[in-house]
Symmetry: C2
């Protein structure tokens, strides 16, 4: 391609971002260059600032710009319940649903013998310490309903046994879900966990 | 979302880029923050540089970092033929195909009475001047095979009539195309323009 080196390099870098490829990266870069004063400049300034300030909260693992994140330092949030999630994206998803008003703990992955990710990598010993010292009433294991997620949840449940009440998210038919398109596992779990209508 | 303001603003900006939405923007930003020293910093530095240096070539309209772009200033390219394209993305597509070794002219759009885009907006008078002064042997109208593209091509052909040889891209079955999935217009045009096999 006969563009100058910086532009080609920018397209190449953008093409490696998740969900983008060479074609969409070209389109994005062209769009940015066309609006370079309003968009490209603003976007790069913002990226500079985020690159300089973004860090992990030492308490929960969320991304923030200070040592302790907004959620951990928010006095109005319930200090009696802790929600354990796999990933920061899961924490953001929980926050969007606005259903949980307690504290979080981000594991940063799931246990995996193949990838040699053990309890220490996920800071599970630190989680146990935190549950002991902060005396939560309830710890919610909001891990993904995948094999890896559930294996990790079982391990954590073992470690936290007797320290507090442990719960996990309900498994069932998602809202808007059609039985015809759901897998057998979800349907049978939803059947076993059926509830009375009144 | 309980992230700090800069991170939310970055997600919001990214979500407005072509081909991205809120979900993919969140994924991209999270990926960038996770690799902030290797990716976010490099990407923002590159964007800063491109924002500062990118400009339109005064000759052809291509994007470059100098007054005259690499293609216009490349002495090895054929100065006898000019390829007129709608958009910079089309110029890049032509360059990727490596089939054309002459000079380009980017219109920057198509004629449109509704959007009040006239010949002056597309710098067609300047194109006519250029064809007159540079004495091209051939001008290839490589405009999109859409109604707007072809209308614009007809207008340009009228303006350049008698100044040089005028050609346009062949219309036919694309490579890998299946007749069953092609529109009637393409099939009938390909039929009329059929060629002898030897």
């Amino acid at each position: 391609m006969n563009t100058t080196d910086d532009i080609s390099a920018l397209i190449e870098l953008m093409a490696k971002l998740p969900g983008l490829g060479p074609v969409s990266a070209r389109r994005v870069v062209l769009h940015l260059i066309r609006n370079r004063s309003q968009k490209l400049q603003v976007l790069s300034d913002l990226m500079q600032r985020v690159a300089a300030t973004a860090r992990a909260c030492i308490n929960c693992g969320n991304i923030c710009t200070s040592e302790i994140c907004d959620i951990c330092s928010d006095e109005r949030r319930d200090t009696g319940s802790l929600c354990v999630v796999e990933d920061i994206a899961d924490l953001w998803a929980m926050e969007r649903s606005q259903v949980f008003k307690g504290r979080y703990y981000v594991l940063g992955g799931t246990l995996s013998a193949l990838d040699s990710i053990g309890p220490e990598t996920l800071r599970i010993p630190y989680l146990v310490e935190r549950v002991k010292s902060e005396k939560f009433d309830e710890v919610i294991l909001a891990l993904n309903a995948t094999i890896d997620g559930q294996t990790t949840a079982h391990y954590i449940a073992d470690q936290l046994d007797g320290l507090c009440q442990l719960t996990s998210l309900a498994i069932g038919v998602p809202i808007g879900g059609e039985l015809d398109y759901l897998d057998d596992g979800t349907i049978s779990t939803a059947m076993y966990a059926r509830r009375a209508l009144q």
